[in-house]
Symmetry: D2
């Protein structure tokens, strides 16, 4: 039996996601009225704050992603940064709009281990022009040290499928 108080993942998530604005979607994730996406549990990445064009995510590093050196995989750090930057773009989209990520650049400033503890990813849209949006993001540890920074380009898709 399903607990009906628990939101479940939409069978047609793309269509459903587009019915509301990006900011409403992110707010829905944060207040629990929308279910977390599958990757959130796997990667321990969750949204903390969202406004139009700017978001904050938290990622908690786990040795599930450790490389042979006992260091958390750079791909996990890229996943956190990508999540922040893509959702910054999403937060600026209206109902009926969607996006896809075109490119990601990341520079690593410090290694991450499980002992590093929760990381804070701050990301913001820098420009949106027609069908293209660009964002930047930074990841900090709890002491405010820069862990990584980068940029991302997304393609915005406007199909008029809004409500």
């Amino acid at each position: 039996m399903t607990d009906s108080s628990q939101p479940t993942f939409d069978a047609d998530p793309r269509g459903s996601m587009r019915k509301i604005s990006g900011l409403d979607f992110l707010n829905g994730l944060m207040d629990g009225s929308l279910p977390p996406p599958p990757f959130a549990a796997t990667t321990r990445i969750i949204p903390l704050e969202a406004e139009e064009g700017r978001v904050v995510f938290e990622g908690t590093p786990s040795c599930d992603f450790c490389n042979p050196m006992g260091v958390v995989h750079g791909g996990w750090v890229a996943t956190l940064l990508d999540t922040g930057m893509a959702c910054a773009v999403h937060s600026a989209l209206k109902a009926g709009e969607a996006f896809t990520t075109l490119s990601l650049n990341i520079t690593y400033a410090r290694p991450v281990t499980e002992a590093t503890g929760p990381l804070r990813c701050e990301a913001a849209v820098l420009h949106t022009g027609g069908r293209i949006a660009g964002a930047e993001g930074r990841i900090y540890d709890k002491s405010g040290n820069l862990i990584a920074h980068g940029s991302e380009i997304c393609v915005v898709i406007r199909t008029g499928r809004g409500p």
Copy 2:
């Protein structure tokens, strides 16, 4: 009780890893004489081929990494590409040398879903100069379509801790 036929993860993996060349390390992962790193099971990424300066990895996409659109997170694709390019650099290192990743660029050509099936990541070192090594990589699906491509810069650390 531990199955003694199964290699276990080294308590001092960094030191242990440096005792052998990068190519011997990758060959050890492939023939099972060395244990897989923790991220391998989480991300379903494994090495297929390795020679000095060039590797092939396989990654099998799973909806454990799906985003709200039902698409595999770009961060997982970045993890596969980063794994390939970093290990291409590693494959060119001698015993006593280590490396750390400095930057990663990725361009996404096609979205990945669980239905895409196993992906092949081919990566190679392009140049090594003193303490810096650069690599490129490409990811293809089983039909040979380009999924993503990118480049990476690593810092090579030579501490003379070799055997």
Copy 3:
């Protein structure tokens, strides 16, 4: 008095450029039937070869671009690489299509001085999907040493203004 045997730069170059395919345009530059763009003389960058989706350019470094260290500015090297990658995209466009560059990544492997002599930039399109095209490029010196490598993303514009 104008020498009528010398092609002059079109007052409406964008429209004119679109009337022919990218490959015809590059071939016109190489056989002298089309005038070189203004940047060619300033930067000493010229096309050597073009086929659909692949080009070779030559750039001759000059101390007009030297930095205070007597090294040719990385921006000049980026200009050569960008020229190659953008023209690789252009070479794959039909009449009526245009493009604009969205992003450029470059990794520098070796410094360039005036004494380095002419450089060879080889660039190719890796993928074109709808309105996006991705290219990669490499720059070599006359001894075949890798000087720089990178990637670029372009937006393709199809306005139906072809002949």
Copy 4:
């Protein structure tokens, strides 16, 4: 006859440049006590402000760098951004230290023509760790529109050749 009041370019610029801190070097360029580097006249790029770890440059676009579409070459924009980010790194170096650029990423937000007028490039160091320094930069037009943004990684060389 040489005008002895005009500083001339050092025959051993690399050694000379290292005798003073990066900030002193940039201040010397701005107050005219040091000669401008050769690329400055070719590209019309000059420093406006410098403090430790942060600089502002101005670049005035010219059709000497126009492509066949009458648009200023993306390579010129990359040269301006690279100048800013590299000098931001330089501004944080002590006497006896030098640097070399390892990689450059740039995202283009708006095209530049000669009519765009002078551009402002703001750049800052984000992190310096051992031998690596990372910087970010943005280019704005006179109305404050974002023209381009990017990041750069430099290798810092400490040879103890200071005064």
